[in-house]
Symmetry: C2
Subunit: 140 residues, 2 copies
DNA sequence: ATTAATGCAAACACTTTGCAATGGA
DNA sequence: TCCATTGCAAAGTGTTTGCATTAAT
């Protein structure tokens, strides 16, 4: 991790421990939408004593600071996304991989809600089959 | 429950017990997106011995037959929707209520995925504040 | 020196499962 | 009668919390 980044985190009151730096390094540019366990497995290589609880509390702290997103795309477990820019997801229902897509335009509310419901954010999820899984399924 | 409906369920191999009929009656036209516990609480009034396990297995069976949708809108618990027609959801982040909205039109995929990813379904979720919660917040 | 993070274990919430008893078809 | 459903309790997941120890600032 570059020192400018360290500076930034210390400035927002986020204490940088070696474990946290390892987590942040793992997350940097990671587009795989890892679960807590994914993160744990990756970081535990460097820190055999690392615990899942630390991953959870660290990710919770990062989310509070607005540095990661907690995705609920996967109903079974949380997934984290270091890309906090507005974007949406495409999910392959076969291999479960999640791909990023740019944010969609505005969503039209039905008349009954227009001007009544104040929209803060909208989220689009597309489900289908990725190229690899289409190929595999075709062979069957 | 009307007998035509009973006929339909028996025909698809769904054995109708009194508990199941009570669940189906509770679900009929229900737009509140109830959780398993909501359903349990409602039906337990008639059946004091009713168990949550029965609700879960029944809902699982109904989902398999395509008679309810399992929503993952709420990251903490499953919610069920007897409205299996294509539609989307508006969620109030304050009171957590979920409102139905008609399905949106097609979603544009980025060029990199067009013709590569085969879209099966898309889902839109809008988050914001409902009228009541806007009013309450304004008073504070 | 302060104060917060670590990491273990225990607690938690939601959901699923094993199984004997029950009751639809 | 036959086989699925019930409902209890126990097990299973993923996540959170209490707390003494450790370490960052």
């Amino acid at each position: 991790m570059v020192s400018a980044l360290k500076y930034k985190y210390r400035n927002i009151g986020f204490k940088l421990t070696p474990q946290r730096i390892a987590i942040l390094d793992y997350l940097e540019g990671n587009t795989g939408h890892p679960s807590a366990e994914d993160i744990y497995n990756a970081v535990a290589k460097k820190f055999p004593t690392m615990s899942l609880a630390t991953v959870y509390t660290t990710m919770g702290a990062l989310r509070e600071k607005g540095n990661v997103l907690e995705l609920k795309v996967d109903p079974d477990k949380k997934r984290y996304d270091p890309n906090t820019a507005k974007h949406n997801h495409v999910i392959c229902i076969s291999c479960k991989r999640i791909f990023d897509i740019p944010a969609a335009g505005s969503i039209d509310l039905p008349d009954s809600l227009t001007g009544v419901f104040s929209v803060l954010e909208s989220y689009v999820e597309v489900r289908g089959l990725c190229l690899e899984c289409q190929t595999v399924n075709a062979k069957k």
